[in-house]
Amino acid sequence: MSTAAIPTAARPVPMRYRPIRTVPDLARHLQWAMSVELSTVPPYLTALYSITDNSADAYRLIRSVAIEEMLHMMLVANLLNSIGTVPDLTGDDVVPSYPGYIPHHAAGGPYIQLQALSPGLARSVFMAIEQPEASPCAPAEGDDFQTIGQFYKAIEEGFEYCVKEFGHEGVFGKGTPYQRDDTYFGSGGGHLVVVHDLAGAKLAINEIVEQGEGATHPQPPTPGEEPFGGYEHYGERLDGTYGPILGVPWELSHYRKFEQIATGAVPTPDVYPMRANPSPDDLEGDLRRAANLFDDCYGLTLRALEGALGSPAEPTDFFGVAFPVMHFALPPLAQLLMQTPLEAAADPAYGPNAGPAWRYRAGRLDAILREAEALLAADPGRGETYLRLWRQSLGRVVETLRGACRAAEGSDL
């Protein structure tokens, strides 16, 4: 057979890909990107909170991914603000619901459920979310993308096209003053980039794709092949030892981190036996109110983040409210629910137990605090051991919300 007979158009052509050609369309895609990033956080955090020992390696891996997903949200927010659009984090079509699919993914992608951590979850859901593109030459894809990396490629090409077509001023001329470079700190890799031009936009997009979804096809680097760009991280090395490593995409990628859990290379620690896709409706009385309190705090976090990433509401919205609630209120509430059997007589070690539903609720901060205080004073009637856990957990929540109330006095949270 002659070579001429081999079809040359072997490149898969997405059927419905329409390249980004206008700045509003670019904004629309970035807002979708925001939804995509946001949709990954609740399932990752649910798996994280389900781990009973927070010093476990799996805990460390998943947390680093969840934190970096939040970095990606902040990067997308900066990209949006750079072209004059404030991000929406609370709209009906933005807040994800579970179980469900990745927004705008062709064929939906993996079916995302809220579940306790298991190797199966890591493989079939988390690795699928972070699925790298088939090759570095995979084409850009917009709505109905196959991999998140290809979706960001469409956005990057959109930026390039728009800057070429409408000029720097036409794209970045109406940028808002709300970009942040200070809301990402602590552990986790990458940097928060403030975007004022095409180079900045590309840098921000590269931060996102390199860390996780990976425009780079992940594979172990050959020793000596990687440029010694600097030791950026501390983690598992090629030879299996743990120490300083190069910041290469493969070792640090989200895909690789979940793969380590999926294969058992990092053992799955003990988890709370949470039912899949929990709902406040699973519970009655004070317990249901506690489940709703979690959703209240989640809604509050989203509103505060929306304020922090799209308005002059600094530093209260982020440092006074969003950060404390994320760090000091959501985890104890989620873990309280995960230790609450659906049936009063069931052993919490076997469950099935309740869990966080991650449904958006629009309660105001002062009302949420009053509800938390009322719950702290209540006895849900599950016995003394449970009551101690209840009070310890809600005590931390009340303390956090009180601090947030002090900080947010006069704001519209």
Partner: protein
Amino acid sequence: MTVTYKIHPSIGVARVGDSDEFYLAPETPGGLPILPDGRLFEPRDFRDAERRLRRQAVRFRVFRYDDAHPGGVEVEAGQGGVARVEWTVHLANKKAIWYQFFVNSGEQGYSPDHLPRNPDVTDPERRQAMIIDPGPRTLTGPGQSARFSRHDNPDGYPMTFPPEGLEPFSIDTLGGMATDARGRLSVLGGHGRSGSSRKPPVIVDYANNDRWWDDTADGPVTAVLVLDDGSRVEVEGSAWVLVAPPKYAPQIENLVTLWDTVYDTSVRHLGLRPDVYRDSLWNRDYEVGFEREVLPILRRVERYPWVVAIPPHPHDLALDKLGDPNPDYARLRGYYLQVVRPPSAPNQFTSPETGYPQMPFLAGDNAFEPGPLASKYLTVTDTQYFLLAQWAAGKFRVRGDAPEPAAAALDRAALENCVGGAFSPGIEMTWISRNPLVYEAPFRLHRKRRVEPPLSLGESLAEGLEPGDAAKYMALPWQADFNECSSQPVGDRFLWWWPAQRPLFVDLDEPPPRRQVPWVGTDEDQNAADYLMFADDIEMVSGWKELGFVWNAGTEEKPRFVEVERVLPRKPRCPEH
């Protein structure tokens, strides 16, 4: 107030170098060394014209304390009724006859099964002969000098020196001393020469090697003022000099400095700060001065990524927010406090609240011997933790720290440039610095008043320290521990020891992006024996003087630390490419 005189710095630190030339120790925390001719220090000044490593001398001054000068004022020879200052220094090295260093065993007293070094030598006279003791030297006025050398014995003192012909390096001197025109004293240490009387010389242990000697030393610095009328006034506050290995990153401070450790002991046991700690109670109303008591600790965090391979992002702190009393940042401060390992939990790797690895990410006093003395991870001192906790709780002021008197600032600078932990054994001084019994006043070691030769084989802290008693615990030769104390496997992690003194990874002085390479070894194979250290400790006995220094080629606010003045050739990476 009666008039008293004290020497500052109360504990001064000289450092070895193979050159005869020297510079003066930095007199500010994290500051550059000082050149005797007043010129600004440059990278090339670390070495002499033959590229030998210059020694670091330490400069002592006498301060007068009276009603008009409660913080002290410097006394200068030829002024204010003081005709001249007579200085006496007595250095010795007692390492060869003291107990073996075995992590923190000994801090609470030595057990009967704890062997001394050179245990086969039991005859007291033979053991005393293993002390390096050149005897005291006195300078009676400005512009004089003396050597602590076996070839220079003005008073016929019964000197003891190791046998001649040690290998690889023999030891003939512990250094010297000189006075300047103003009556200040500079003390110089040895040349970093270490050797063994056994042939061939072999190093078998990180801290204890029999028939080995090195030329580090320590001892008291005393002074007498001779007034214009000929009367003599003894300076009441005597000082101490420690001769230590070089500090290869002079502008980078350890998270826990020796000043922090001695300060903690002074606060908790010597009543130095009753407003902070009194009658076993911490004053929870104490208002911390952010700039003096917290900010330096945070800045140290930010500089570690220049001397060790750790992720820079978590070490990049939002200092403007952390020093802002705005209640919005209360939780941010609390978040960082949770990252700090409490002194009560030296075996705790992760925070029980958050699961985060706790800081400092450094090995502790006893990182490798299990049992009741295990202390795997370094912690900040109790006082440091208290100050951080007060700050996290919002009890701090941003400004308004009274300026520190010059005399106290000299004490602080000398010790802030030293290692305050982990004491395994450490670089300049070990856990004996935590023992309140070794001090006669805060920051001032208790000097034994009448020292007669031969120096004692034991010690009585009640009587005070003799020459050689402050540093006799340290590794023998120091190069063995200096080589090995690079990274330490603890559990499934590698921890570091003293990256600010002994860097692990350094940046090459190249245009960006940063390229960080192992300070000692080759960077090709992370598991090679010569990756972060020389494959054999004995290579460090000569190799230390060829290693590079870490230099801030950027600014104070935006530093860029790069390796300078390395003499040792760095093996090319990937020779096949």
